[in-house]
Amino acid sequence: MSAVVPALDIAHLRKTYGRKVAVDDLSLRVAEGEIFGILGANGAGKTTTVECAEGLRRPDGGSVRVFGVDPYTDRRAARALVGAQLQESQLQDKLTVAEALSLYASFYPEQADTEKLLARLGLTGARNTRYKKLSGGQKQRLSIALALVGRPRLVVFDELTTGLDPAARRESWQLVRDLRDDGATVLLVTHYADEAERLCDQVALFQAGRVAACGRPAELIAAAEAAGGAGYPGRLTLDDAIVALTADRPADRRSAAAGRLTSVALSTNELSTNELSTGEAS
């Protein structure tokens, strides 16, 4: 088993922006064929980490390997292996869906069938529509199509479902499962604990540029229960586990507050309550 090359192997990664340390001695390993979730508050280093994996940022220290390839020194090879859906990236207003897809297909040595990709993402009817005229959901689906057009072995989704309605979120989840069933490895950066709990084989909880906890969702919940729970009775969710496992030590003095906030989180399914509680402490 040790001979198997991981899809993503990050060891002791460090990245700073000026004086701000974004990622500090962060290590994680993603096995091929799994859906790996990265959860954490804003500023925890999630996007910086995946940008290092995509070759968009040069690590200040440590190593990053995508299927054994260094994304910074061997850019071309690594980028052919990785399909990236980036946060806040747009396309040219007057570029049509079909043009964008065939343009991005031309960048890759192996290409997906663009017609089937359009159909799978429900964009066939919009193929001749210019980017500017697409709805928000269509733009999102096009960015997914562009991430998949090079037949990547590792697909990175950065906040795939942020801003989508519940039905669209579930469609995206099914797409992620389909990708895994086809043999791809999926790295999913998300704010939603329920999404990670339903979808991910492994989850890493990021906190202040490090991995605070990593494991299967059930394992993380068990660890949180063993550590004393969320401060109120009832079965824990991954959301509770996140709060418990990423709480600053000592956590005692605000465990009651964290418990109240978590019950709010149960209804909104948002991790932002975790930011609230850590913000309160600082």
């Binding site: 995509e54 070759g55 968009l56 850019r75 071309r76 090879a77 980028r79 052919a80 990785v82 990236a84 980036l86 806040e88 990236s89 747009q90 396309l91 040219q92 007057k94 570029l95 043009e99 065939s102 343009l103 991005y104 031309s106 960048f107 890759y108 040595p109 192996e110 290409q111 997906a112 069938d113 089937k116 990709l117 159909a119 799978r120 562009l146 998949l148 090079g150 037949r151 389909d178 990708l179 069933d181 086809d182 043999g183 791809a184």
Partner: protein, 260 residues
Amino acid sequence: MTAALAEPISPTRDRRRSAFATLVRTEAILNVREIIPLLWGTGFPIALLVVMGAFSSGPDKSLGGFSLVASYEPILIAFSIATFALQGVPVVLAGYRERGILRRLNATPVGAGRLLGAQLTVCLAFTLVSVVGIVVVGRLAFGVALPGQPAGFCLAVVLAAAAMLGLGLLVAALARTGRVAGAAGTMLFLPLMFFAGLWTPQATMSAALRRIGDDTPLGAAVAALQHSMSGQWPSASGLAVLAGYAVVLGLLAWRFFRWE
């Protein structure tokens, strides 16, 4: 359902366009769809040439012995070069950076550097088409002689375009948004076009103004174009000024350019 994502197509080698060719084609299509810069860079100078031609009445001593239309032809060529390089390229590139398009391309095996190359290729192609258009319309409609020193003329056009593209890239490097790049491009365009002689041809400028003008990129460009059109080889100092601007501005742009 899932097969759609797994199934490869086998691209036959001859049918697969190279990434760069596809980028150039896409950028060209987008530039044509944008239409306004194209009207300014190609349509406007040719329209101005036609107006000049209509008012032109033989050689004029105050214009150095040229007819009005002949003396304006190099100025309009400079206008076209400067419009594409200074009002087109920076707006597009700064806009691409602002919208994360350069970043997105850097996440593909091809990289955003190739897009930069494609944008410059398209800009040069549009510039050359406009220059040829101006020369041909001048010849056919108003009998302006074709460049008497064609090699010198081509060199002057290429060096002028390189100098202006250096400036355009520097604007693209320093401007945070497409809007800022557009405003900066226009603010540079107007004084540069003054020294090119758009409002008062160089022949009618005072000696002091003309000396300053000779050291500006478009002043040097118009002088070099004028010389080569009347059959002389452009002055070495003029060509050196253009080459110097191209190298220095290009290096500065290289130094300050950011992908995101």
